[in-house]
């Protein structure tokens, strides 16, 4: 909790300032909106944080989301498959892609950046080819209502003031991820591997298996969230769907305390990081700041956060150095 104090303060600061400048921020519909998007982005951010903790990176998330969404929508509408079956098939494909990433990285020793950069282009390309670059829709309001509830529904069902359903996914996935990372031997192995792969291997950790697992988790969550986004948008535009999402996810993970050097990170921090990203985006809209300023604001605030974090570390290190010098 102490580790996440900085990011909690940052989140509270952005929320309070926005609410003071524009009270409409606090309207139920707006809060529901922010929460729903936080949940969706939170899911892919948790995915990529596993990869980052293992010491790797995944740049293919946005494209994989587009490909998964495209396949899902085609199977469900044009091929008229059972939606549940289509859902499972797409999750299988996404998980397999993570497996391939992991094997290329551990067996062929390719660099994660290279593998997932190529993946980013490949999956985007596949999405465009199988859709022939056409936007694909889920159809009218009446179709796939049960499925759409997963992305746009509210709990309790039917209540306009309820909790957005994707938040349920975020909470479940977040709790499982937190337990995995902090309470199981595998989480410990992952952290050890991210800090010092060699020492972890010498200690008997199956480092390759742990790395592959991280990529599978990441791609699986990307595929899953891709379908949720498609249901939320009710359509997939293959050329733009999910653009930049991997970078939002990485930014949220870094804001949440993951070090790109690996071996560090907390799931709660990552979720808070995703929340900051969404609140910032929302406040730009609601304060009617022209959207062309969007990237300047988000980039600037993340950079300030990262700088503040490093400066705090330096100050702390100096203090403890002075303390140990004084005591010796």
């Amino acid at each position: 909790m102490k580790k996440n104090l900085g990011i909690i303060l940052l989140l509270a600061g952005v929320v309070i300032i926005t609410a003071m400048l524009q009270p409409a921020f606090l309207k139920v519909a707006n809060i529901q909106n922010v929460l729903r998007w936080t949940a969706l982005f939170g899911l892919i951010s948790i995915g990529v944080s596993f990869v980052i903790i293992s010491g790797g990176i995944d740049l293919s998330i946005g494209s994989l989301m587009a490909m998964s969404a495209s396949i899902a929508v085609i199977l469900m509408t044009e091929k008229a498959w059972n939606p549940a079956l289509a859902f499972i098939i797409v999750l299988g494909i996404a998980g397999t892609i993570g497996l391939i990433h992991g094997l290329l990285i551990t067996r062929l020793k390719l660099q994660p950046f290279v593998v997932t950069l190529c993946g980013m282009m490949l999956y985007r390309g596949i999405a465009r080819v199988i859709t022939r670059d056409d936007q694909k829709d889920f159809g009218g309001v009446e179709e796939f209502t049960a499925l759409k509830f997963l992305a746009t529904g509210k709990l309790p069902a039917g209540s306009p003031e309820g909790i957005p359903f994707p938040l349920v996914f975020l909470i479940i996935v977040g709790i499982i991820a937190h337990i995995f990372l902090n309470k199981t031997i595998y989480g410990r192995y992952l952290l050890a591997l991210g800090n010092n792969e060699s020492a972890a291997r010498f200690s008997g950790v199956n480092t390759d298996f742990m790395k592959v697992t991280a990529y599978v988790i990441c791609s699986f969550l990307a595929g899953f969230t891709g379908i949720l986004f498609a249901l939320d948008f009710n359509s997939v535009a293959p050329n733009t769907f999910g653009n930049w999402y991997e970078l939002y996810a990485i930014a949220a993970a870094v804001l949440g305390g993951c070090s790109l050097r690996g071996g560090e990170g907390s799931i709660l921090g990552v979720i808070l990081g995703a929340a900051i990203m969404r609140v910032l985006y929302n406040s730009i809209n609601i304060l009617q700041i022209p959207t062309r300023y969007e990237f300047i604001m988000i980039g600037g605030i993340i950079l300030c956060g990262a700088m503040a974090d490093e400066i705090a570390k330096i100050v702390k290190a100096r203090k403890s150095a002075r303390k140990s010098a004084a005591s010796s």
Binding site: I185, A192, N195, N196, A199, F202, E264
Partner: protein, 509 residues
């Protein structure tokens, strides 16, 4: 050249102190270097020799104290400034770039240039001159990477001379050289002495110190322990000052009657020397040392046994079962443990806590269905801290902040938690102080008395002679000979290690 006690020192270290997190590397060390003399600085690993030399060469800054050059304070805050003062360090790990020619590497960072372009003619001419000065037969156009290690070192010396160095510092220069290369180095050093170059020579090989030194300064635990003039330099005197007590007290090897064979290698091939089959066996309760020069394949052998490296073939029998571990995981489940050579890189996750490091290899035993049982984990780690007398502020202390000795205890402790039958140790006392060393030795004795088989690699002659029941001497990937306890002699070991023909009686195979 005999040193003249009346001469004004060319270099004086005055009250040098230096601390690293968790360890005081140097405490108020002072000594003089006289013009034209060869001063040997000796001490055990971790005594502070290398730190002292890094300070003189401008690699690290001292916390306290001063270095005087010809009587006036010198600014040694960077390597460039030290070079300007005429000080050059010949590194222990040779650090010439391998993809450059001899000439280019000699002038790296200070290339003579005309209008921003290399002045190739001057570079070639001056490097040929420097090579000639130490009579090194080598073309300036040769790639450094193609030279044997002995020649690389001589190129480094030539490079220092071409930079007008007046004070050369040698840091364990013969640790990776063959006997022939070593003799050649001695010749060059004699020539340099005749030319009036002052030299500081770090070593823990006492034989070569006796051969070369005009005077010896001894460091112990980061402190000045004493000095010996030319006529006082003897093996006994040096050891007494280095260890600070009688050597026989330091190592108290009591042999036990050995039990079953726990590790046996039959025509085993390590990855580094796939053409050199290795045969040996170790029994419960035995401590077997592997001696040899750096690069003889000792680390590669133990790492291949432990599955860190893929063995190239052959057979291993571990605790009665024939297995060749494919990974450290396999090795651990067969009953092996390895305390690796590079503690910081391979032994510990430095950023993690004592608890997390201490439980890492045995975490599966402290878990139920994959979930860590924190109570069990904490108990096991606390037991380790207590049993091994690890000095920590608490189990959550980050291991990075511990001294080398305490770090090494955690590496050993984390393995003991896996209850191994065979303990492999690669340079188990590298970079730790004398007190911690003694504790590591005591642990090794205790563990072997309890029936563990210990196979350890060491470059320290005293250690390998003092601790082993048997010594395997490796040379270029092969076991050149095996010595029983009554034949432990430094000379015999060195002869085998450098590929010299062994006295046939001394080899029992």
């Amino acid at each position: 050249m005999e040193s003249n006690p009346e001469a004004r020192p060319i270099l004086s270290a005055v009250g040098i102190s230096k601390s690293f997190p968790g360890v005081k590397a140097l405490k108020d060390v002072s000594f003089d270097l006289l013009p034209g003399e060869l001063l040997a600085v000796i001490g055990e690993n971790g005594a502070g020799k290398s730190t002292m030399m890094k300070i003189l060469a401008g690699v690290q800054a001292a916390d306290e104290g001063q270095v005087l050059i010809e009587g006036s304070p010198a600014d040694l805050t960077s390597v460039e400034k030290a070079t300007e003062q005429g000080i050059a360090l010949i590194h222990q790990e040779l650090n010439l770039p391998t993809n450059l020619t001899v000439a280019a590497s000699m002038f790296l960072g200070r290339e003579p240039s005309r209008f921003g372009f290399f002045d190739q003619r001057q570079i070639r001419g001056r490097s040929a001159e420097a090579l000639a000065r130490i009579e090194l037969d080598c073309s300036p156009d040769e790639l450094v990477g193609n030279l044997p290690i002995g020649k690389k070192q001589l190129v480094e010396i030539a490079r220092a001379l071409s930079a007008e160095a007046r004070i050369l510092i040698f840091d364990e220069p013969t640790s990776s050289l063959s006997a022939k290369e070593t003799r050649r180095l001695y010749e060059v050093i004699d020539q340099l002495k005749d030319q009036g170059v002052s030299m500081i020579y770090i070593s823990h090989r006492l034989g070569e110190v006796q051969r070369l030194a005009d005077r010896v300064v001894v460091l112990r635990d980061g402190e000045y322990a004493g000095q010996l003039d030319r006529h006082e330099i003897s093996h006994e005197n040096m050891v007494r000052l280095m260890v600070g007590r009688d050597i026989s007290q330091f190592y108290q090897r009591v042999s036990h009657s050995p039990g079953d064979v726990l590790l046996e290698a039959r025509d085993f091939l390590s990855d580094a020397h796939p053409d050199k089959p290795v045969n040996f066996s170790i029994r419960a309760g035995e401590i077997v040392g592997i001696a040899g020069l750096v690069g003889a394949g000792r680390t590669e052998l133990v790492e291949s046994i432990f599955g860190v490296r893929q063995s190239a073939g052959g057979r291993l029998v571990i605790c009665g079962k024939e297995v060749v571990p494919q990974s450290p995981r396999d090795a651990i489940s067969s009953g092996l443990a390895l305390v690796p050579e590079d503690r910081k890189h391979d032994g510990l996750v430095l950023e993690m806590s004592v608890r997390e490091n201490g439980s890492l290899p045995s975490l599966g035993r402290q878990a139920r269905k994959g979930f860590v049982d924190s109570r069990k984990e904490v108990e096991a780690v606390d037991r380790m801290i207590g049993d091994l007398k690890v000095k920590v502020s608490g189990r959550e202390q980050v291991v990075q902040t511990l001294s080398g000795g305490n770090q090494q205890k955690i590496v050993i402790g984390k393995w003991l938690a896996t209850e191994p039958r065979v303990l492999l140790m690669d340079e188990p006392t590298r970079g730790i102080d004398i007190g911690a060393k003694q504790e590591v030795y005591r642990l090794m004795h205790e563990l072997s008395a309890n029936g563990l088989a210990i196979l350890f690699v060491s470059s320290e002659m005293e250690e390998i002679i003092g601790m082993s029941d048997r010594i395997l001497v490796m040379h270029e990937g092969s076991i050149a000979g095996e010595l029983p306890r009554d034949q432990f002699e430094e000379e015999k070991i060195m002869t085998l290690a450098t590929g010299g023909a062994a006295d046939p009686r001394s080899v029992t195979s």
